[in-house]
Symmetry: none
Subunit: 403 residues, 2 copies
């Protein structure tokens, strides 16, 4: 990993305007935390991001962005023009949470710890997005390239990256982006430059069902699915890069003495390698088909057989941004200037999508510390919080350029 | 199998009063079907038989029984006194169904076919129970022994025969019964004289859970259970007598990208042989223990392991009534008089319990034809329906005696 300082970085950060942005971020740290609390308390369940998006749009407009709008699928997009037109830099945080409608989102504050579902993931990212926009407006720093500020929908789970997919579609506002930076959760010690891919499946096995004794020998959907789960559980998946294969949910059956009519399961397969995802998908399909065939082998007529249905319910393409690309170097250099030795890691975030398209993309934590992501016990502490915002801002300035 | 006609059978059935019962049953066939429809449409899910029981009690009282009552656990019991006191004959049908609360029970009638969950099992048995009671009352036939008419709770699934167990408990109203006849479902061609035993288990596997990628390799309760289901599904169980092994329900997991904290399953094992039930139980326990161990083999510390809990949730003792016992001979003889060559078969019904206590017990279908038991597509056709009721009635008269 190259550790040279990018030429001109020190000079750039020494520009009076740039110094002023840092002062502004430090001075308005309380405001950033207030935004974080306010946005976290607005429900944004999967496929229900409207209310939070609407408030983010108001705040982005107040922060001096222009052309602020909510697009067809709910992404909130605002522009800060550069001195030049052309390929924009995209800075994004995601609106959605994993928490269903009705979850108590009230933020509790005690001993400097903020507690609420989503307070870090991605309440922190959204607050940092606003802080960066305000710092540029208030200090009058203008970049060379235009910057798109975006709150995306559908980053989590079955949202299937639909927000960022829409943004980067042919003709979408980010289709020609020069780079993409996602602010996702807390932290300052990592730079995500590899995008973990995922394929997700829902499997349903259906049969005729019957009485556990009278109809013994009839193909049983739970048995069929159990055979497949057993086979997949003992499969040694490829390594380098690793693959995870998780059967995460299953269900079926109505009563203890009834051969069930239906059994279903959901599977999650992840890897940084598209090829390994393909291998795993082949394995999943083969195990399911073989297991259903095995279960059907005792059937004496077709009506006793079970049928298999496999639905692909999610695709996250894997991808990577080269460790020596200007974007990654910028993030690492800025980290070092802030006296943080950041490491390059892999994760599954909005950045996956531009990575898979060959557009340089990274994901940064937005400062502070956090834990319990995706649980009701999620918490955030503002240790080095403003420095996380500065790290994002400086990386933006290095990539977008300050003339 | 002895096929001699019991001494005095022809003479008994030729008594004017007994002839009149047959005429009554044939003449009131429509009423019997109306009862069947009405009772089937009253929900009686597992552990929720009150409403159907209450209506049955009203109908049994209208049918001329005395001392009609609902006992502590929900059985409906009514008495028809005999000329003598002493050990009663018990005639029973079961109130409960396998269908959960909320199931649509509306009976559809088309081309002579009645369709509804539970229309045969045991709507038909309950309707026949009423028809037998009414025929005796309306024709004034009095038996030598008293007869207990019973609607039992808990015949199905996890009900675990709790109704009939309560009836035959020490000091229970049937503890000294001379014989037990269960009317269960449709049909006229079989006499159940062997009681299929069952053991039922609930299995819970628990682990720490986690993120499908970050925590990959952690022991997964769904994987552990799937391994066991796969192993059990391909187990060739003992034969002669046969064993059925059914994993009938399972569930677990919260979100597609989360290693679940818990997975559970319910299993049903059946055989006429107590020894084979033991063998199967050993196999179930061994497969579960081995599968959890296999799943745990990758755990690097104890907190990553999953734990297994197996609970025996139901025991149905196997049993038999000798083929040459007076009760079985009575049922076969009556069948023959009705020009049916009935065969002796094995099933798991309320009769298991008295059989296991050494009390002569059989189960009879209550006439008609049916299919799809324990499914939403259950149907009933009234072919030889009244003859099924007559078969039950005559068997009762032969065993209880007509003076």
């Amino acid at each position: 990993m190259p550790h040279s300082t990018l030429p001109g970085v020190i000079e750039l950060l020494d520009l009076p305007g740039v110094r002023a942005t840092r002062d502004y971020i430090l001075a308005t740290d309380e405001r950033t935390l207030r935004d974080q609390v306010e946005l976290t308390e607005i429900p944004a369940p999967p496929f229900g991001e409207e209310a939070r998006g609407q408030r983010l749009a108001e705040l982005l407009e107040e922060a001096g962005l222009v052309e602020v709008r909510t697009d067809e699928i709910g992404n909130v997009v605002g522009v800060r023009h550069g001195r030049e037109t052309g390929a924009p830099l995209v800075l994004a945080a995601h609106l959605d949470t994993v928490f269903p409608a009705g979850t108590d989102l009230k933020v509790g504050i005690e001993d400097g710890v903020l507690r609420a579902p989503g307070i870090s993931d991605d309440g922190r990212g959204l607050a940092a997005l606003l802080a960066v926009a305000r710092a540029l407006s208030e200090t009058g720093v203008t970049t060379r390239r235009p910057i798109l500020f975006v709150g995306t929908v559908g980053e989590e789970g079955n949202g299937d990256l639909r927000g960022v997919k829409h943004l980067f579609r042919d003709g979408g506002p980010a289709h020609d982006a020069c780079a993409f930076i996602s602010l996702d959760g807390a932290g300052i010690r990592t730079v995500v430059n590899r995008g973990l891919g995922a394929r997700r499946f829902r499997v349903v096995v259906r049969g005729r069902g019957g009485h556990s004794w009278v109809d013994r020998g009839m193909s049983n959907p739970i048995h069929a699915l159990g055979r497949a789960i057993g086979a997949l559980a003992s499969w040694p998946p490829p390594s380098q890069p690793a693959v995870s294969l998780t059967i995460s949910r299953f269900g079926g059956g109505t009563s203890v003495n009834t051969i069930p009519v239906e059994a279903w399961a959901e599977l999650d397969v992840r890897s940084e390698s598209e090829r390994h995802l393909e291998v795993a998908e082949e394995r999943v399909r083969a195990a399911l088909n073989r297991s259903v065939d095995e279960e059907n082998s005792g059937a004496t007529d077709d009506s006793q057989r079970t049928d298999l249905q496999i639905t692909l319910i999610g695709v996250r393409p894997p991808g990577a941004t080269d460790a020596d690309s200007p974007l990654v170097e910028a993030a690492l250099t800025v980290s070092r200037i802030l006296e943080v030795e950041a490491s390059l890691v892999s994760s599954s975030t909005d950045a996956n999508l531009p990575m898979s398209l060959g557009i340089p993309a990274i994901t940064l934590g937005a400062g502070g510390e956090a834990g319990g992501a995706h649980t009701l016990e999620e918490w955030y502490r503002n240790t080095r919080g403003p420095e996380g915002v500065c790290r994002a801002l400086y990386t933006v300035l290095l990539v977008a350029g300050v003339s």
